[in-house]
């Protein structure tokens, strides 16, 4: 087996995904370890170009108009060493009427001092759809710093859905910065689930500007902070077109000495638009806790069960 394949198998084995899925010719994939491209496979209509730079990798993805990619595209960004900086510059264009779903794994299994920087620009064309699930698997040491940044344009009638999951291993530091502009009749759904412990630091800043009529946007954050972990969520929805609709939702469970802040901002510039927000921050619900304890779970196990439920993929 080549060294590349060994690394790919090693990374995937940490994610609960079978690396043999990559053998399927209908599954496009891109595997990057540190700043090296280890594997790449495209499917008809999908062009992927990955260029290694001095300090990172530049990835250009183009999905041609009307192309429907049947199986989820696999992306894997790994750092097998315990130290280093990984920088990925992504430029993604989904042309009109094209549909794609991506499954990204970010795996830093032994990180002691690792930075993962993602700088993405995404354009989702008219009536196109882009569905993205990013799952992080971090080391238990807490030595990861993750900076995901994305600038998104959601075209008329397009759908943009992202889900971000970081519940395995320690967060370390995460600083999410997403901004999206949404045209008429488009739909945007951004969802993050993150579990922090020890001195983890979580910052989420998501902004969606609903600039087109009937544009819809939902920003959801579900976070748990235990021990001395800190979370700050600044989610903002603005609506400047008639009949734009949106909701900002933030749930944070705070245990021990955890600290959580939620600053939902809703900004409406058209009387026919409608935006709501909801933030619930606090310890686990007492009745939930007592229910599980009445089945014999210790208080700690009950808290774990409640948090795992809240943070599970719905």
């Amino acid at each position: 087996m080549s060294q590349e394949l060994t690394v790919i198998n090693d990374l995937y084995s940490r994610t609960g995904t079978d690396p043999h899925e990559l053998d399927d010719p209908d599954v496009a994939h891109l595997v990057i370890n540190e700043n090296h491209v280890l594997g790449m496979h495209a499917v008809p209509g999908l062009d992927v170009d990955a260029k290694e730079l001095d300090d990172g990798v530049k990835v250009v993805v183009n999905l041609r108009s009307g192309t429907i990619v049947k199986k989820p595209v696999h992306l894997c960004f790994g750092m097998t060493p315990d130290r280093g900086v990984q920088r990925i510059i992504m430029d993604v264009t989904i042309e009109s009427g094209a549909h794609i779903s991506l499954l990204a794994h970010c795996v830093f299994p032994v990180a002691v001092d690792v930075q993962h920087i993602m700088d993405a620009r995404l354009r989702v064309g008219e009536n196109a759809s882009y569905k993205y699930f990013e799952k992080h698997v971090h080391s238990p040491a807490g030595g990861v710093k993750v900076y995901p940044k994305a600038l998104v344009e959601v075209g008329p009638g397009a759908r943009f859905e992202t889900e971000f999951e970081l519940i395995e291993g320690r967060v370390g530091l995460i600083d999410i910065d997403y901004e999206a502009t949404c045209q008429a009749n488009s739909l945007l759904d951004m969802n993050a689930r993150i579990s922090g412990r020890a001195d983890d630091y979580i910052k989420i800043s998501e902004t969606a500007n609903l600039v087109g009529e009937y544009a819809k946007g939902v920003l959801t954050s579900k976070i748990a902070v235990r021990d001395n972990a800190k979370a700050e969520v600044y989610n903002k929805l603005t609506a400047s077109a008639p009949f734009a609709r949106g909701h900002v939702d933030c749930k944070e469970i705070v245990q021990d000495n955890g600290v959580a802040t939620a600053v939902p901002v809703v900004d409406v510039h058209d009387p026919r638009a409608h935006i709501t927000h909801e933030a619930a921050i606090g310890s686990v619900d007492n009745k939930q806790l007592e229910t599980l304890m009445a089945r014999g779970l210790s208080e700690d196990d009950a808290v774990e069960t409640i948090i795992n439920g809240l943070l599970s993929r719905s």
Binding site: K251, D285, N286, K287, Q288, E290, T291, L292, M293, A294, R295, G296, L297, S298, E299, D301, A302, T305, I306, N308, G309, L310, L311, S312, S314
Partner: protein, 246 residues
């Protein structure tokens, strides 16, 4: 002495005496009912036995298998084998029903899917749904019962087990009570419903924070039917919101 006993239990909440010298001995392996009108103190008694927060400041004692459990936490009581099925069970965002049932089994391997079937919920429809707001009150009650079947407790306090349950599935709830008894669980039905009382073998009648009578179901049923409860507080007719009567 029975498996569970409360002795001269007194509890005040918000400056009012809610439990007023309650003594009950629950015999092992039986299905008991604690009946009485709304506000009698039945749910308070159940909360005190399991040890919910806010119900700890008691006088008297609670004995399980002959030993006092009044200083034990909820989970310690549960690990001895006592549990409570809530009148209004909690909802958990995102927690799959299957996970909830398995967690309740405390490390024992159980067939969550088969247990769902036992309480009248189709496992294919419900196994992966969350124990959340999208469940109706009746569905949530059935999930609560399923988790108790999985736990196999020695004593199960079931607070108003028929509330929110439609007529068609009420028999499934009663079947589950029989199943618990067959598993060896002592069942305590907390109820103001005649239909539920009829599932018991033995009953205690509570009124105004006191046990005012005990005996066979036939004997206690008689009070229900006559709307006559012999206790020393002044009866307020509206209190007798008793189901199952013409």
């Amino acid at each position: 002495m029975g498996i569970l006993a409360v002795e001269n239990l007194k509890l005040s909440l918000g400056g009012r005496q809610i439990l007023n010298d309650v003594s009950i001995d629950f015999w092992d392996g039986h299905v008991h009912a604690v009946v009485g009108p709304n506000g009698a103190g039945k749910s308070t008694l159940a909360a005190t036995i399991i040890g919910l927060s806010g119900y700890a400041d008691i006088e008297g004692d609670i004995l399980f298998e002959g030993q006092s459990i009044r200083e034990l936490s909820i989970d310690e009581r549960a690990r001895k084998g006592i549990t409570l099925g809530w009148q209004e069970p909690a909802r958990f965002e995102g927690l799959p029903i299957r996970t909830f049932i398995n967690a309740s089994a405390n490390g024992d391997k159980v067939d969550a899917m088969a247990i769902l079937e036992q309480v009248g919920l189709d496992p294919d429809d419900y196994g992966n749904r969350a124990v959340d707001k999208t469940l109706s009150g009746g569905e949530r009650k059935k999930v609560e019962l399923a988790s108790i079947l999985a736990m196999k407790p020695k004593v199960a306090l079931l607070d108003e087990p028929d509330s929110g349950i439609d007529i068609e599935s009420i028999e499934r709830i009663f079947d589950a009570v029989k199943l618990l008894k067959e598993q060896g669980t002592t069942v305590i039905l907390i109820t103001h419903s005649l239909a539920v009382l009829n599932q018991a073998e033995h009953a205690f009648l509570m009124c105004h924070g006191k046990v005012v009578d005990k005996g066979s179901v036939a004997r206690i049923r008689h009070y229900f039917e006559d709307k006559c409860i012999p206790c020393d507080h002044k009866n307020v007719p509206e209190l007798y919101n008793i189901e199952g009567q013409a």
